[in-house]
Symmetry: C3
């Protein structure tokens, strides 16, 4: 109880601006808003461990729209809305008449008459995912303002082409716990590094999210990737300015070793070059199967050149006391486990496996916290009522 009260007291010192809002990008939110989400996540997690209910809805739907595969995020969302008192309804765009050319604007309202939350994953196509979420958000705003909907559902980004807020806030909560508070993160060096994977077309949202979140907490963020594996330029620029504001730093390198050098935290993960993702989107829209096949083969061949970008024991030796914390959004491509050569050596992953589970364990509560803050006018009072 004491820990919960401490966290609620800290929450009261903040000035978040989340009530009635969607949660789409961390960089559209103030530092207080981000901290509030994380504090509420910790509080709800503590209630869960103490088997105290934290329901805030009598009834209502939470709708998820997954335009890409997912296990952990799917179940994190299902868990979060269940704890808050909502029933999950998944919008399957194949089963539904969206497949029949129904407009987003109409569908968004048609499914929202008793809906409190809409969670969306749409991460495969640069320029698409975030735009789609805005379309949905605008559609239900109109429906709400025009008296079609009794309540406006909160739109939660479960991963888009730009950011993966529920993931990176979970990553940050793990760091807060591991290093003992946000203050202790100042000056810590985190290596957000590309890593080799035999797969292709992984989204850019995690590295873009990491460099734009960790820089805001005074950390020294180094982004490492081979030439050609660039992230979206605007996300690079914003990372620089966030670092400046916070007193942290942001830099880039094309050497994994340089990023790992004396790092406190490493986040080695594969992603596809932005240019490839954009080309892929074009080909998909054109339905050019041959082109897609060639692009994939080209990319896999391209990746092969960087097969040595693996987080192995040698690489880890370079980090602070050879002992940096390893983070990953999971599932990781583990060499000799899920593939022959992957992002991380079996020995390294096994050493940090339980840490990655804890990291993932924050996600249901981060999602719940985003919904909670959007729906509850007096968060601290409401949380105290659960104690």
């Amino acid at each position: 109880m004491e820990k919960i009260n401490t966290l609620i007291n800290e929450l009261e010192t903040l000035k978040p601006d989340l009530f009635g809002k969607d949660f789409l990008l961390t960089w559209d939110n103030s530092l207080d808003s981000l901290k509030a989400v994380m504090l509420v996540a910790e509080i709800l997690q503590n209630f869960h461990w103490q088997k105290k209910p934290w329901r805030i809805f009598d009834y209502g739907l939470a709708i998820s729209i997954f335009r890409d595969n997912s296990t952990r995020t799917r179940f994190s969302f299902a868990s979060a809305v269940n704890g808050l008192g909502l029933a999950l309804a998944e919008l399957d765009e194949v089963k539904s008449q969206i497949a029949h050319g129904e407009t987003v604007r109409e569908t968004a309202n048609m499914i929202s008459f008793l809906t409190e939350v809409i969670g969306i994953r749409d991460d495969m196509y640069p320029g698409e995912g975030h735009t789609y979420m805005l379309e949905v958000a605008n559609a239900i705003s109109e429906g709400y303002q025009q008296g079609i909907l009794a309540q406006r559902p909160a739109v939660i980004n479960l991963q888009c082409d730009l950011d993966h807020p529920t993931q990176v806030l979970s990553d940050l909560l793990k760091l807060k716990d591991y290093f003992g508070g946000w203050e202790n993160l100042k000056g810590k060096k985190i290596a957000m590094s590309w890593a080799y994977s035999p797969s292709y077309g992984k989204p850019l949202s995690v590295p873009q999210g990491i460099i734009n979140l960790m820089t805001r907490f005074g950390m020294n963020v180094v982004l490492a990737h081979p030439e050609g594996y660039d992230l979206l330029p605007e996300t690079i620029q914003s990372a620089f300015s966030f670092a400046q504001e916070s007193g942290g730093s942001f830099s880039q390198t094309t050497l994994m070793e340089e990023a790992f050098q004396n790092a406190d935290i490493v986040y080695p993960k594969s992603w596809a070059p932005m240019s490839v993702m954009q080309q892929r989107t074009k080909l998909l829209k054109a339905g050019d199967k041959q082109g897609l096949k060639e692009l994939e083969m080209h990319c896999l061949a391209q990746n092969e050149k960087y097969i040595d970008w693996e987080c192995d024991d040698e690489m880890m030796k370079l980090t602070k006391n050879g002992n940096a914390l390893y983070e990953h959004c999971l599932p990781a491509d583990i060499s000799d486990v899920s593939c022959e050569n992957g992002e991380v050596a079996k020995s390294v992953f096994e050493k940090y496996r339980l840490h990655t589970y804890q990291e993932a364990g924050y996600k249901p509560f981060v999602i719940a916290a985003m919904i909670f803050m959007s729906k509850v006018k007096e968060p601290a009072a409401k949380l105290r009522s659960f104690v």
Copy 2:
């Protein structure tokens, strides 16, 4: 609150016969029963807007069986049962062993041990959908009478080959609201008109449902369609006799213009000729892919002849003060939006778009009201307990 009390008082003046019953066809129900469903729907909708819970079940399942695609009805049903306190379980006939030739009679009981409601959409094959619903209803009646089931689930028609009661009652509630009460609907002219669509095989349930519901409320119903696009003969006959009983009228024409002339309400919508649907059913049963392909091509070519059956500004000018209310079950085939040439012009649809959203917004509450009336012995008392 006052509005709710007024509605409950009106409900008490009626003698509905819905307790323990299924809701399959509007024309199997008395006028009092139909009005009761609509009043309860309005009441529950008002509770929702006032954020007052209207749960009637401690626990239990609501099962949906969708034999055709659906977005709005799927989510309307999910919303309705959630508000009433049930958990949704969708019977996917592919996943389930029905695919293995299990009999309807057996399956219906196997899934019903803790089930309060079974919602079914089966609208594609004339002579099939309603028959299937009766099979399910009879199976669970036997199970209940024989002591297999502790409760008899209510079967709700979410669209069959004959009628689409949850839709047309929502359409009617929109009219009640728009014109200020049922009394004001007497003598109003509604044009239920076929309209062109580049698609094929749309069910007959909506036009059949409209002409058999609106005629019961004293409206002047005109059915318009090109030659060959007939509805089921028995639904035409019943429309005539309903009109006679109510003092309204029912007539048919092969000219869209004639139907629109001085109309108060227009409902332009595409459907497939009954004969085509019947032929289609035969071919599907025979698994005659070639025949189906030819039939589709034949039909689309046939439709092309009537490409000018579009609800455009010119057509709307013909209506009462050029200002008739446009209704549609959605999604509409909108020219230059969802297709090149469709049922309605973009300009017309946009003018009435929010009206169609409100129209759709009644559906979750109409479904909830059907379940409520089937399950609650003292509806008015129960509703008062929510106030």
Copy 3:
């Protein structure tokens, strides 16, 4: 109420060892544990008939993993967890990233942060299903012990390659009810017999489960099947020793008639020879489509030889007073109904149809009882609180 109190009193005389445990195999559980599950199932069923809620969870997920088709077990699980207060979340291994080579260990933890129960059906491959369930169980045990999970989900076997405990305990509850108590089952003869079916590859779990459960209750169990349709040897051995312990008997024959002779209960059901199932597993793993096709044809031809293994009126005449109770897990292959020649004659099945429905009706409550006993420290006290 009186019946419920009697059952609770009986429950208090037992020393079950189920708290915090999974339920995977009946033969891993003591007689007291099995009786406790069945008593609690009867009690919960009585609460349901008296419309008294029996919820034990404020919130939480119940996850089902179905690696084979299912209707009744799917809905039984959905019903059970709903009554207990959990929300169902189905893990679809196609939608999920398990399809991307994620390890069982990781996935099991990733989906369990707010999960109380995991129900698994994995019955197609000898040596696979039970092993998979143990992997899941070990994974979440580690997660719980290592502080990753706030609660350890109970793993419930919804049918594996070895046993089908929720089914056979339902079969036994039907016998308890039919013959008036466990005592009256002593010395009763039950014929667990193979029967002809035009299908192929049916699991062995039901016959293996039946011979290993009924022998523990002092029954005389006769297993009949054509040569070559053997069950797993260890399940035969354990059946012999269970019979010895209980004072019942176990024997085998290759004549259906001999098994039916003077039987009190008959359970005629088709299954595939163990050797075929094992070969099938190899071919599936090798992706040998041609081999699978040949194996299926070979098996169907093999089955044809035993087309006379049908439970028809002649066969039933051999039983005690020609009046044995017919049991089946459903769906049965009924001659002239679901196939030309099947496991049971239409006339026989129709006579016992409602009995088979009652038999199936216990399953939701058996599942609920397994979860209840795993999660509730003081079962009798909790049950009394529902009265």
